[in-house]
Symmetry: C2
Subunit: 253 residues, 2 copies
């Protein structure tokens, strides 16, 4: 019974479909922190990721790595490309980044981050930017702290999924408030992604057991001594969490 596959655990259907683009892998990887395109290819493959997340640096202060050099390492045409505003510190910067991502890279699915100065999601700014971007024809996956009122407001605005912050990015503390995360997952009818603070595959297991549709992992893999091995570890944790949720629920799934 070894060698359980993603499809064995989660089935073959996408957890999110946007037009002709679909998200099937329950593991999303941020790759903004990498400086080596070869490692990006390794981790995306090890994690069986099918989404490639890129960004546009408004200030041109960061390497243009993601927009060029990666191309030689992996077949990016096999990935669903989405943009991220992860460097934005205001709703205006987030909206401007999204516009640049659409103008320059033809991306209109946006992983929306609006963080305040303490690097936590700014709920009000996120709602403001989401409203403006959805009005402008973008498809939005916003990141917020797990607060039921906030996530329902974002669902009401037309966001296609909500990303729930487990604990502050880079903190590796796992889920600071598992009950709040679960309450949001249960309140939403759109898919939930857990992200932020994931410092061990154990936290990935926990998020999937709570009922998350997917997890987004970034720093833990990027900063590991061996990123591709950690990506595999996270992937195995994903399967473990999905199986555990099914084992508790009974039924055939």
């Amino acid at each position: 019974m070894n060698g359980v596959s993603h499809q064995d655990v989660f089935g073959a259907d996408p957890w999110l479909t946007i037009g002709d683009r679909s998200f099937t892998s329950r593991l999303l990887l941020g790759v903004e922190q990498y400086t080596n395109p070869q490692i990006i290819g390794q981790v995306l493959r090890a994690a069986s990721a099918d989404v490639f997340i890129t960004t546009y640096d408004l200030d041109n202060t960061r390497s243009s790595l993601l927009l060029s050099d990666v191309d030689g390492e992996i077949d990016l045409s096999r990935y669903t490309w989405i943009g991220t505003t992860s460097f934005a510190r205001s709703p205006e910067a987030a909206v401007e980044t999204a516009v640049q991502l659409r103008d320059k890279l033809d991306l209109d699915i946006i992983k929306l981050d609006v963080r305040s100065s303490d690097n936590l999601p700014d709920a009000e700014g996120t709602i403001l930017a989401a409203k403006q971007l959805i009005g402008g024809g973008f498809t939005i996956l916003p990141l917020v702290l797990p607060d039921v009122t906030t996530v329902l407001a974002l669902q009401e605005l037309g966001c296609v999924a909500v990303r729930l912050m487990g604990s502050p990015v880079g903190a590796h503390r796992g889920l600071a408030d598992p009950t709040a995360v679960k309450d949001c997952i249960d309140a939403l009818t759109i898919p939930s992604v857990v992200e932020g603070g994931i410092g061990s595959p154990a936290h990935v297991v926990q998020a999937m057991e709570l009922g998350a549709d997917a997890v987004l992992v970034n720093t833990m893999i990027a900063k590991a001594e061996q990123p591709a091995v950690m990506a595999q570890a996270v992937y195995q944790g994903l399967l473990a969490g999905g199986l555990a949720a099914r084992a508790r629920n009974g039924g055939t799934h």
Copy 2:
């Protein structure tokens, strides 16, 4: 990179060898709680277990299931058989159970449990029983709370491995004191097994990340709606934890 195997993660060598018997799977399953022999076969296979743990009921108040009916369900000759004293509530009862297991089933490798009335391991009673049994030619794997002095005393007595209780059996609280568990693992030169309180594959990941050689899981699988699926989940968690430990350490392993 899907389909990582136990051997990919942990290598092919046993983590414990006793005479001509070897323990290669890092996942040990207690099966004393099952009443259905078919399910025992399913969970042992799903977990890729290679050790079969059985016991002898001094009072004959429990079903003799494990000693007979299971035989038709799985090829028990492929497993390393060990005995357990998990029903013992005193050092005397533990020693007597071990003697019966040797006399009746020819088992001399004993998973030694001596619990006090609150179901926690009795350190003093465990040391006493271990000393007596080792003197009598048994091979002993005792269960204790994670206390460095206690585990070093057991190592000094000649125990071949120590089982560290994560949190009270059946509590599902994971590792109550991860630092104490890690201190014991680091202090010991013999293998460490983490057991007790494991209520999610996330706890299995955590134990393996701390450097445990193996985990022993019981109630979480036995009480799941679908035990075989939970056994698979735990197995995936085991791989995740082993990979994460390697990813952090760097090197080739």
